[in-house]
């Protein structure tokens, strides 16, 4: 017997594999940014190295926005979302599962290919572990706040513009701590304070976001 | 003391902006309310049947 969460996760991932092209979008997006920026600002290694953490992080952030509008909408339209409230699993747990699969689909590919992107932007090797760590801690936060924004805008019919306005203030701290940490590591300084704060943000998001997301979804299906 | 000439532009435009925003906050709801009420009056008159053309 599968628990409802496992079943949902399996279904989401299977759908992502089936729509292979769409699931590649975050990666294509990441590399579009990584290739276009040097073309825009010039190939100077010093300049590129100094903006590399910011570029990779902004690309990860924008990549996480891509699939958000469709995060809950198909389930709302075919009625499965309502089943979350009458089925066996708790709605909050199902929400977390959905956000987790969103992270697996949009966050993990970015993390996997980040070393390549970092190399292309001449990020110092000493900063690479910090970059990876910051992405590992930070991208789940992006998925969480993105999912919250997606749930809030679910009942509207012009979600996408609104979605980015809602997400942008929520990711400001993540961006600051993550890129700050990577920049510190690139200068040979300790990034542990940044990573600690980033972890605190993750813990806060993990505790509060499912609550707010569930409440927002509930209001939207009423 | 009226602000010295060097800073007059910045100071007066700040105060002007303040006045403009306050005035906007005062006027805008009143204009909107007037419009809603006019709409409602018209609706009501149409329904009750004693519609007098206000422009007549």
């Amino acid at each position: 017997m599968l628990s409802p969460m496992k079943a949902l996760l399996r279904r989401d991932l299977r759908l992502a594999v089936r729509h292979g092209g769409e699931s590649l979008m975050p990666l294509i997006f990441l590399f579009a940014v990584i290739i276009l920026v040097p073309l825009g600002v010039g190939p100077g290694p010093n300049l590129l190295a100094s903006i590399a953490p910011g570029m990779i992080w902004v690309a990860a952030l924008l990549a996480s926005l891509l699939a958000l509008e469709q995060l809950f909408r198909p389930d709302l339209e075919d009625g499965t979302l309502e089943q979350w409230w009458v089925g066996a699993g708790s709605p909050a747990a199902l929400v977390v599962t959905r956000l987790f699969s969103h992270w697996l689909i949009t966050g993990v590919p970015v993390i996997v290919f980040a070393p390549l992107a970092a190399e292309m932007l001449y990020l110092p090797d000493s900063a690479l572990p910090t970059l990876m760590l910051s992405l590992l801690i930070g991208t789940p936060v992006l998925s969480l706040v993105g999912g919250l924004a997606s749930a809030l805008t679910l009942g509207t019919n012009r979600g996408s513009v609104l979605l980015s306005i809602l997400v942008f203030p929520m990711v400001v701290p993540v961006l600051i701590f993550a890129t700050g940490g990577v920049a510190a590591a690139a200068e040979g300084l300790s990034a542990s304070a940044h990573m600690g704060l980033l972890t605190a943000l993750l813990i806060l998001a993990v505790t509060l976001v499912p609550l707010a997301t569930t409440a927002a979804l509930r209001l939207n299906i009423e | 003391m009226i602000p010295q000439l060097d800073y007059a532009f910045y100071v007066w435009s700040s105060y002007g902006l303040f006045a403009a925003i306050m005035a906007w906050q005062f006027i805008q709801p009143r204009v909107r309310r007037r419009r809603i009420i006019a709409e409602l009056r018209e609706e009501l008159a149409m329904q009750t049947g004693n519609y007098d053309d206000p422009d007549a």
């Binding site: 203030p169 929520m170 600051i176 707010a212 | 100071v11 700040s14 902006l17 009420i37």
Partner: protein
């Protein structure tokens, strides 16, 4: 006994006709109070207070900038309190008040940013600096705009108000984080910045106009909030009986 009365009054506020009446009666008094406070405050700010020995007359922008900044933040706190009440007790008039607070708060945030920019030009030499406070204010403006946009995007006003109330509370958690992170970020990137409110201590005579302006702006926030809430209520209840009676009496008419 007093508690009981408060409770009854609180419940009466939930009744649209009572709330409408309260708005209609209270708003002119608040506006009048604002005008009196602002008149005294502006007179003192422009004519009584001596020029600063470092900043000359440009610091007079402070009497607009600082009350606007305080009100932008206090407005958010008020909105959050209203949002909690709206979500917990599901009182529709409070939901409407919460949503009415957002545009007024946004107006003060915009005013704070614009006056900060006008102050920055003579002081810093640029219209914009990535100063921690200005940056946090800019993000706050986007939070306000997000709340307004979310509310406006719903066809069902009531549902929109309740979803936007959740966003208000999310923002309440978020704002201190943003403030802290931006402060951290500017200290890392800029070293010592020139502060608008620099080392020069406030002259005692500056306190009086600042207090008058702050109080005035608070009254104005209440007045504008009630005005907007009243409009929303009329707009949403246009098919209800109490509105028809009101219009019949002409009580909401042109004299309002």
């Amino acid at each position: 006994m007093i508690f009981h009365r408060l409770k009854v009054g609180f419940h009466r506020l939930g009744s649209p006709p009572t709330f409408h009446k309260l708005c209609r009666v209270l708003s002119p008094w608040l506006w009048a109070g604002f005008l009196v406070c602002a008149a005294i405050g502006l007179y003192q700010a422009l004519y009584v207070v001596p020029p600063d020995y470092q900043q000359g007359d440009s610091y007079r922008i402070l009497f607009i900038h600082v009350p606007a900044a305080w009100q932008a933040m206090a407005g958010y706190v008020i909105m959050s309190i209203l949002a909690v009440i709206a979500l917990v007790w599901r009182i529709r008039t409070v939901e409407i008040m919460t949503m009415a607070a957002a545009p007024v708060g946004a107006a003060f945030t915009a005013l704070c940013l614009a006056t900060g920019s006008l102050w920055g030009k003579p002081m810093w030499g640029t219209w914009w600096a990535w100063d921690a406070r200005l940056t946090s204010m800019l993000v706050l403006l986007f939070i306000y705009l997000g709340i307004m946009g979310l509310y406006a995007a719903f066809e069902d006003r009531r549902k929109g108000a309740r979803v936007a109330c959740i966003l208000v509370l999310v923002g309440l958690v978020n704002i201190p984080l943003i403030h802290f992170s931006v402060e951290w970020w500017t200290t890392l990137h800029q070293g010592a910045t020139i502060r608008l409110l620099g080392e020069s201590r406030m002259h005692p005579s500056m306190m009086s106009p600042l207090i008058w302006m702050t109080v005035g702006v608070k009254l104005m926030f209440g007045a504008a909030l009630l005005d907007r809430a009243r409009n929303d209520l009329i707009d949403q209840d246009r098919r209800k009986n109490w509105i028809r009676q009101l219009i019949g009496e002409g009580a909401t008419g042109d004299n309002a």
